[in-house]
């Protein structure tokens, strides 16, 4: 079980590689330019079964997207801290 924080845009290879690292039970959180994954349908194909995905609402909204366009549930900064509390292993 790990929390994987992806902060770079989908156009960066390293972001895709980090999504591939996720294994069942892991949580992926998209922040900063990583939130652009939340509006691309093909992101769903990249995410393995059993991996939960969240999106930082503040970063999504600052880039012009509302919560209801996001393919994954949003969290705010408090929610991010909660994810940190629940996951000792953090990959970022």
């Amino acid at each position: 079980m790990a929390l994987i924080i992806i902060k770079k845009s989908p156009k960066e290879n390293i972001s895709n590689r980090m999504i591939e690292i996720a294994s069942p039970g892991d949580i992926i959180l998209f922040v900063q330019d990583g939130v652009l994954y939340a509006i691309e349908e093909k992101t769903k194909d990249l995410i393995k079964n059993g991996v939960s995905v969240f999106v930082l609402k503040e970063d999504l909204e600052a880039r012009g997207y509302s919560e209801n366009i996001s393919l994954f549930p949003c969290v705010n900064y408090d929610g991010w801290v909660e994810l940190i509390e629940k996951n000792e292993k953090i990959i970022s």
């Binding site: 845009s9 900063q32 330019d33």
Partner: protein
Amino acid sequence: MKKVLFVVYQSPSGSIWVNEALRCAFGMYGEDLEPSILFMEDAVVAVNKNTHPEKLGCLSLSMSFKYLERYGTPIYVVKEDLEKRKIKEEDIEPTWKAQIITNDELSSFIHSFDRIIFF
């Protein structure tokens, strides 16, 4: 007269480059220069009327709007980059008066300038 193009490719909420390109473009008018700005890749996020870096405490894009209106600096955006980021024409903030060009037109468009500076 020389035509100058500033090309921005990074997201305006994640980085300073959109604001810096705007600032540079507005500064060109002191010389016999004709500046334009092209947004491609993640930078197209800038033209969405709902994009507000100030929500993160960062500098707002709207601080450039009065200069944009005063100078009428041409703003170009790549169609395919908009589509990939799900930004529809009606989402575009009218103040930008953004002109949409296709990826196919990009090469000849960029070659039509004398100086091309990527940010």
